[in-house]
């Protein structure tokens, strides 16, 4: 890391009488999971690099309620949603970037009806915008010429129709973007969604993440890229189970950008 991360909180910003252009919604994984924290930091490095005026909620952030809602627990979801909306509206938040497609989907689609209306984008969409606007210059760096395959997170892809942003960012790295047979709208889930991340799988003959990891590994990629901390965990497990961690890395699109450009 070249320099210390600058991560202002909403509270600090407000105390200084400032309003950030965008709120970075970190998410539970990005805050607590050791692997996902690296993704969070990569996103912050990108934001710092382009001098984005952003803030996080810090300890005022709480789960969006996604796992509760997908599990059928509307009460817990609603409690989380309503209190988050109170916080967000108190800070008069207009625009949010999330590090997780589940937070992205919930904030973007399910909060408006409850009084939380914000412009919500996923971090791969933000990076794409920054590149397109010329604010972020990226080079392939260590990934130049490498083979990368992108695993579509269900809640970014099918759930919200975003297939191109992460791919266009990856292509900027001057790499070979290899597609799995099941990709884009036809992509196969990593197995973590719908609260599966937090429970044992039901009886079957295979784990979903193994099925997906094998499909990705069949391409013999240098990197399996994704845009979701849960997909990242599932794919990493699948790669390790196949003993391919020395050949294939699992990285978030934000990490690809940050690492390639020595951020």
């Amino acid at each position: 890391m070249s320099e210390a991360l600058k991560v202002p909180t909403m509270a600090e910003m407000m105390a200084a009488g400032e309003t950030p252009d965008i709120l970075f919604w970190v998410g539970c994984s990005g805050s607590f999971d050791d692997r996902a924290k690296k993704i969070t930091k990569a996103i912050v490095k990108i934001l710092n690099k382009v001098d984005m005026k952003f803030a996080v909620l810090g300890t005022e952030e709480s789960c969006t309620g996604d796992p509760a809602k997908r599990a059928g627990n509307e009460f817990t979801f609603m409690m989380q949603a309503m209190s988050n909306i109170q916080v967000l509206n108190a800070y008069e938040v207009k625009k949010i970037v999330t590090g997780c497609p589940h937070c992205f989907n919930t904030l973007k689609n399910e909060y408006p009806e409850l009084g939380g209306k914000y412009e919500v984008i996923h971090h791969t969409q933000l990076v794409q915008q920054l590149i397109n606007e010329g604010k972020l210059k990226v080079e392939g760096g260590e990934f130049k010429g490498k083979k990368i395959t992108f695993h579509d997170p269900c809640y970014l892809g099918r759930a919200n129709g975003e297939y191109e942003a992460p791919r266009s960012v990856i292509e900027k790295l001057d790499v070979e973007l290899a597609e799995m047979k099941r990709s884009r709208a036809n992509g196969l889930c990593c197995g973590a969604g719908g609260a599966q991340m937090f429970k044992e799988a039901e009886p079957g003959n295979k784990e979903v993440n193994m099925e997906r990891a094998e499909e990705a590994l069949a391409l013999k990629p240098d990197v399996i890229a994704t845009g979701c901390p849960f997909c990242n965990t599932m794919m990493t497990d699948g790669v390790k189970y196949n003993d391919k961690q020395d050949e294939t890395q699992v990285l978030d699109v934000a990490e690809l950008i940050a690492q390639a450009n020595d951020l």
Partner: protein, 440 residues
Amino acid sequence: MEYIPQILFLIMLAVGFGLFAKSAMRIRRNVLLGRDIDRKDRASDRMNLMLRVALGQSKMVVRPIAGTLHIIVYAGFLLINIEVAEIIIDGLFGTHRIFAPVLGGLYTAAINFFEILGVLVIVACAIFLWRRNVMKIGRFHSTEMKGWPFKDANYILIIEIVLMCALLIMNAAEANFPDEHRAAGPFLISGLIAPVFSGMSYETLHLIERVCWWAHIAGILFFLNYLPYSKHFHIILAFPNVYFSKLTPKGQFTNLESVKKEVELMLDPNADPFAAPAEPAGEAEHQRFGAKDVQDLSWVQLMNAYSCTECGRCTSNCPANITGKKLSPRKIMMDTRDRLEEVGAIIDVNKGTFVDDGKSLLHDYITPEELWACTSCNACTEACPVNIDPLSIIIDLRRYLVMEESSMPAELAPVMSNLENNGAPWQFSPADRFNWAQEG
């Protein structure tokens, strides 16, 4: 005496359409047992979607072989049935090929076109039978396809082949009529079959032609009445089903209004905890959280169930099913339809009211094990050629399990309490949530 065939025809037509109308009304009544849901917004978007997905078959061609063959059968069904208009007029008025003299060359062209389509339909149906019975494609042989659903599919294909053959044989027989009796033809395809009947007397040929004519229209009326008891009802419901399908992003789940109200009250610092509960506004009956039985689902979800033609694209794309779990989105839809039929039958025998039979969609048809295998990935809704939404039913049933039965997989219970107490699914203190920024 000469009017007897016309009278018979009229009776057959009236009975055929009358019985179908009765069945259709029964299905409509069953669908409307569902809760209300507003799907009348964005009419032009809905119309465009219906034209593209239902009429235009845009999602069918995702699988090119099955998709192309399906379009042939579908186009054949739509276009060849134009001929039914002539059959009905001829049947009612005792005429023979009434459009032939009126349309002249155009008539010959039209029938030639129908004959070519008819042959294509026969070929496509034969390939479909081959795929189901000889190739044994996996998705046609899952557990939920055993018995009636498997036979149903074969019956439909065989009936379609028989109907097309009747049409061709009818024309082939007429091709051998002496010129003064022949109203039209010979035509392209039936002309090739015609030599089979050469040398027969006019009386025999006329008999063959009549038998095929009656078999064709009787077959069509039989098929019409078979539809409401078959998965094949999709040929009718595909259109409204796509029209009323979900237009919001696939990831967006509904918010339960009743839960929202309660939580709002909990979070309102000005709410009087000792206040008497407000008078229930209109809604006299307590509505369950989520769905236990078919009446707790919306009419769109129930229409989905009748629209399903059991193609199994949902199930073959479902990550849970692919990895051997019990969940099959197709079975969710078939179970919903079967239970709804059962509820409808109970209502029929009890003169319009439902009498609790101690059974429900949840548990008796769909087990928690199936429901908890879902990753909510939307592969099923994406795959469905007519925009059926099995995921919404899975989530509604989960809601009932969790909120009414307090039942969920053991590992999820602490996750829920962590969410409530710590604002995260794991047992971390909310105070540590921002520690990442200080770590190297």
